[in-house]
Symmetry: C2
Subunit: 420 residues, 2 copies
């Protein structure tokens, strides 16, 4: 009857202290995004194995937790490979399920559909510190909105949320896939080389301009093209005038509306933001996923080296799945990283210090117990946290323990002196 006490490899038990912060954040996220008109939605954690293996998931498709067929469908003797044994898997992201959901339910959904998804995903990654095989993702997506109203609302909603969590001085870096392409085209790179060029460009913040130059040359690209390309990055600035500079320089290489739209996004967000952050145009921002088609963006925080969220426009993905072209744009926050940052800075949940403990005599007569329960009822109805506990022999130790749990007020009830 002995039990394995530890959770399965790479997954974790969540203790009350972390859980309180998670609950607080989940409620705040839902409340905040709802004020922007987003609709909560949910898909099953288990997805068809065929959908998970549909090549949209990239490397994640290698990390699927697969689910064994059941009953007569499972034929162990005849099985030659994994796919003979399984019919489902745990989802590795919320994007594949969103596509399936939208294609299954579009008739019953608003148009445009502003979706909010929070849910666990699973990846059988090599376990490493701070990364788990089950983790929460939090995505907002606007499906069916072709204009930059989508980008503006997604960025405003996300940054408003971060502001409510007391995050300050962060940066939303923004770029557009079409600017990336136009800069490469203008410099003379062949379209077939774009992906390789962008992978090298993506290292700019680590290896700098000269590092990028060296790697591009090592890859065998013409020195003229490399020089022309890097000159653009030397001259461009991280703001609206940087966008304007590229618009003028790239000319016909850049579709006319791209620069104007990007400027409007930056300007609109800067002018109406409700948190303390800045928008930065970053022509070196690449973002890995090849499905992006327009503006792309990422949240950078000094407190945390990497990105704590990002997104962009992916106008072609849903149509590929559904056959129905549907413009789409999304923004995902790194929920687990945000929780980690809040835990590290001992984030205090508003109102969490107002917890009361009633310590009551073990032999409290039932008529007196009623009075105590009545008093607790009144306080709880007002939203106060009241924990009724049997008084222990070592009362001081008991209280010290409860203080570490956030109890600040104590009331003691003794059977012989308490009259109710």
């Amino acid at each position: 009857m002995a039990m394995k006490k530890k959770p399965v490899t790479g997954m974790k038990d969540i203790l009350p202290k972390e859980m309180a912060i998670r609950d607080y954040c989940i409620a705040l996220i839902k409340d905040t995004y709802k004020t922007f008109g987003f609709n909560s939605m949910e898909t099953p954690c288990v997805e068809h194995i065929e959908n998970l293996n549909s090549k949209q998931g990239g490397e994640n498709e290698k990390l699927i937790f697969k689910i064994l067929k059941r009953g007569e469908k499972l034929k162990i003797d005849e099985a030659k490979e994994e796919l003979d044994l399984v019919d489902g898997g745990l989802r590795y992201d919320l994007t594949v399920p969103l596509c399936r959901y939208y294609s299954n339910n579009a008739n019953e959904l608003p148009s445009p559909f502003k979706a909010l998804q929070m849910g666990n995903v699973w990846r059988a990654d090599r376990p490493q510190r701070g990364r788990y095989r089950q983790f929460m993702q939090c995505d907002i997506d606007i499906l069916g909105e072709p204009t930059i109203l989508a980008e503006i609302e997604l960025i405003l909603a996300t940054t408003t949320l971060l502001g409510k969590l007391d995050f300050k001085n962060f940066t939303i870096r923004i770029n557009d896939r079409r600017i990336l392409k136009a800069m490469a085209a203008y410099s003379g790179f062949a379209e077939a080389d774009y992906d390789t060029v962008f992978i090298i460009l993506d290292k700019m913040d680590k290896i700098g301009l000269n590092g990028v130059r060296e790697e591009l040359l090592k890859e065998g690209y013409a020195e003229d093209a490399v020089t022309k390309y890097l000159e653009l990055f030397e001259k461009v600035t991280a703001d609206i005038s940087g966008v304007q500079y590229l618009k003028e320089t790239l000319g016909a290489f850049l579709p006319e509306e791209v620069a104007e739209n990007l400027k409007t996004i930056i300007d609109s967000v800067e002018s109406t933001k409700s948190a303390d952050f800045k928008m930065a145009f970053d022509p070196t921002l690449v973002r890995g996923m090849s499905y992006y088609t327009g503006p792309i963006f990422e949240i950078s925080m000094d407190e945390y080296g990497g990105s704590v969220g990002g997104g962009g426009r992916y106008d072609e993905m849903i149509g590929k799945f559904t056959g129905q072209p549907t413009p789409a744009c999304g923004f995902s926050i790194g929920f687990e990283r945000i929780i980690m940052l809040l835990l590290e800075r001992d984030f205090e949940i508003p109102g969490s210090k107002n917890k009361t403990a009633y310590l009551i005599d073990k032999k409290m007569p039932s008529d007196k117990l009623l009075k105590i329960l009545e008093q607790a009822k009144q306080a709880r109805a007002e939203g106060q946290i009241v924990n009724i506990a049997i008084m222990k022999k070592n009362k001081k130790f008991q209280k010290d323990q409860m203080i570490t749990e956030g109890y600040t007020q104590f009331e003691e009830f003794y059977a012989d002196s308490f009259e109710g």
Copy 2:
């Protein structure tokens, strides 16, 4: 690239309307239970297959979604049976994971530990209407509290929640496993026969006193015993005096404190309840799980034939797993059934009718857009729901659609007339 559009068999996509109610309930449950001092906790959805197969799960162990081993550990050629292929499974309840969690983390948890768990569980049941293979469970448990303070607080917390959801006129039926046993012993049944007797007794509400008599006799039990047993049920009333009657009649068959404790639970809850329901002593209440050791209870609602939740004391289960005897008591609400009932009676989420849509001209100049965004920012900061949408050609149809989503106020912004 075509995708399977439907969710996997027996699981469902949750549409915004249901999701809004679920989100509301989840937040209300967490808020309400927290005022009673419960701590939110979470375990991974994936559990060791050994723990899931530990015989605590009863029939549910036949319904496990099992997870394929990965990498070198998976040896398809050598596999003879399922257990050679799998190392984990999706949890089928929250009780097995709670035991594991408590044994893994007891040192870092308060004592007693008041746990609140909400999470999905999975059972590969035969699909049927209204029952799904993925569903949410919602359990509160108090571990380490031997007194009836646990039972009282669990029932008060659960009923307070139901009251906040506008449920009325429901009944908490309560009994005690030791009363069940004492009634059988007093009547002359052998201990080895109790389980069979209780299974028949459990049908009382369906087949009545005479039906129970017939089935007991058919099972071959002595007529004397059956008559004596059923006489008890004829004379007992569904209140505290019923408990008193059994106390006096059963005498030494019933441990002394059992009846007094039950009376105190009923009286305390009746006196300090904050919802419109009644407590009923029900000596025919059995509850299936054999692990219960003391008081057991169930929520009955007229609106819904069956039980919409239940629980009881299980003082021996945790010790079996951990080796450390730990008194325990829990109450689980049928989350999915409650959501179903709320949907059926068109439950209106407080504040949900205060939704505003801004319909804006497709060609809104960016300086005017700023004014609109600024206005939305102010309203959203006050908690209002504001959805900014591009005005469609068929504006009437667009508005009618939005009205079905709960939008009651519309503001229209035209590029040529709007001055900001």
